[in-house]
Symmetry: C2
Subunit: 316 residues, 2 copies
């Protein structure tokens, strides 16, 4: 199969690239390398069925060229802004990089007759629901521009399905951790502890509690959904039952760095505006399809901490 992966040099996209290549597919990665890294594709570039193109989806002319030059069977659309907190100051970050990218992907597919899209959506579309939500939850009032942009993306994917006979696989992710992660709380903690090994400042009260899914478990799930469901729109929460508090994460980082730092909390129940402090959602639908995560949330977080420290990916 010939597959386009947008954002395929990024954290999640590059794992997907490796897996789809290992299964014998031809893969073209299109990535602007804003957060993606060429080094994430070290394995992929050895494969003759792999091709990397640096470019910006928002540059329609440049982007459409790859549709002209390749007849894709399916697009895995993973490109998006991934730093949710950043767009509080500038909502254009997510309107552009998270929504308009999706819209241009859909336009390209329409123009060049590609009918299948696998989409990286998010638990953030549910907003701060305050209860365990399943896939049929409503109303949908996201509290971050990132969540809004992903919900908007789902909405257009849906209307393109109806209007042009597309088929879609929408997979909604919680926080994802593991090898090649580029930013987030673990990075922040390590950087802060490098500056001051005696005290770690934690935003909020430390009780924010979320499921952290291991990236390779996530890739398993995405591919399982894609291969085993066949509705016009297939949509699944992906995740892990267990959860990790911010305090647990902070303690793991302190512990793995061999430090004895105390934790100081800034207070309040949210780390930042748009943060959903207590989140859990139902995984019954994906479990019924025959998948559950191998690593617990704590195991996934610890693995990620160890990887970042080993590779020395943090720099002051």
């Amino acid at each position: 199969m010939k597959i386009l992966i947008t954002g395929g040099a990024g954290f999640i996209g590059s794992h997907l690239t490796d897996r789809l290549l290992s299964e014998g597919n031809e893969v073209v990665v299109f990535d602007n390398l804003l957060r993606g890294r060429i080094s994430n594709l070290d394995e992929a570039v050895k494969n003759p069925d792999f091709k990397f193109i640096k470019g910006d989806i928002l540059n329609k002319e440049e982007f459409f060229k790859i549709f002209e030059e390749n007849k894709f069977d399916v697009v895995f659309h993973m490109a998006a802004n991934s730093d949710i907190a950043s767009s509080h100051a500038n909502p254009d970050v997510d309107f552009g990089n998270t929504l308009s990218t999706t819209y241009n992907v859909l336009l390209g597919m329409k123009e060049f007759g590609v009918k299948n899209i696998v989409f990286a959506s998010t638990s953030a579309i549910y907003g701060d629901a305050g209860i365990t939500v399943d896939e049929n939850f409503g109303p949908l009032f996201p509290i971050s521009h990132y969540g809004a942009s992903k919900l908007a993306s789902e909405a257009y994917i849906s209307s393109f399905c109806e209007n042009y006979g597309f088929k879609a696989w929408i997979t909604r992710f919680p926080n994802v951790v593991g090898e090649r992660a580029t930013h987030g709380a673990i990075y922040d903690f390590i950087n802060k502890l490098k500056k001051n090994p005696n005290e770690l400042e934690v935003l909020g009260n430390g009780k924010q509690c979320k499921p952290y899914l291991y990236v390779k478990d996530l890739v398993d799930a995405i591919l399982l959904v894609w291969k085993n469901t066949n509705e016009q729109i297939n949509f699944f929460n992906l995740g892990v039952e267990s959860r990790t508090t911010v305090t647990e994460m902070a303690e793991m980082v302190i512990n793995e760095m061999g430090l004895n730092a105390s934790i100081r909390y800034t207070g309040g129940d949210k780390g930042w505006v748009g943060d959903v402090p207590q989140f859990s959602y139902s995984l019954d639908k994906i479990h019924k399809l025959g998948w559950s995560a191998n690593l617990s949330s704590n195991e996934a977080v610890r693995k990620s901490v160890q990887y970042i420290l080993e590779k020395d990916l943090c720099s002051l």
Copy 2:
């Protein structure tokens, strides 16, 4: 109160303009006159508290000037593409005129410190649900680009509420008819019958069945919601319990034109791609707030037919 009404020269917006002026408010209408008509504001222009500015919300510089020059208490954002069927051929129509307009309104409010927005949303966000849906229905998979753009608009309204302390009143409309309507099935039928008074071609099987709300009833409901609810996001289905089939509508037009035409159906259960053929949604929430429509769906449709014929608004 000083109020901005985007799309205030349009079908629904102009009725809202008249009403808000009659209640003693200062009203500024910003409209690109794409479908809006200056003649809809014949009453408004007599009022010294009224001001009309022709302009395009998508031209940010031009649009933001009105925020610079006026300190608004609230924005009624009614501007949107209103011809749902048209964007099948060109999805940019709705991405631009229905979503990006909303996004620019939100940016303008953020930049100039306006905190309150009343928004014209739609039953189309629910897609082709196949059941009677209330405000908490999910999943939300709209089938028209118009519905997708309105859902996307709601999503950003929600994230702007959380990020910048906005308050929102989201009112979801069904089909709306009455004085000053600019297009739609009634117009199509009249135009077809002017060409051929003996036979009326009807798209679909005539059994498409929807609630048609009278525009003045709608304006009552919008203002009631705005004045009587006070959550950060207030959201209501507005509508009428009764419904009208396409066949009933066709018969009313034939009858009001004094003709004896036969009806020929093109067949199929949808009039056009993106059409929701059988729609009804729950009005319990708005009824509990103390509002219900004065005119039935059939009464509203007939009133609209009579108005269009009297004013001779159709032209071949």
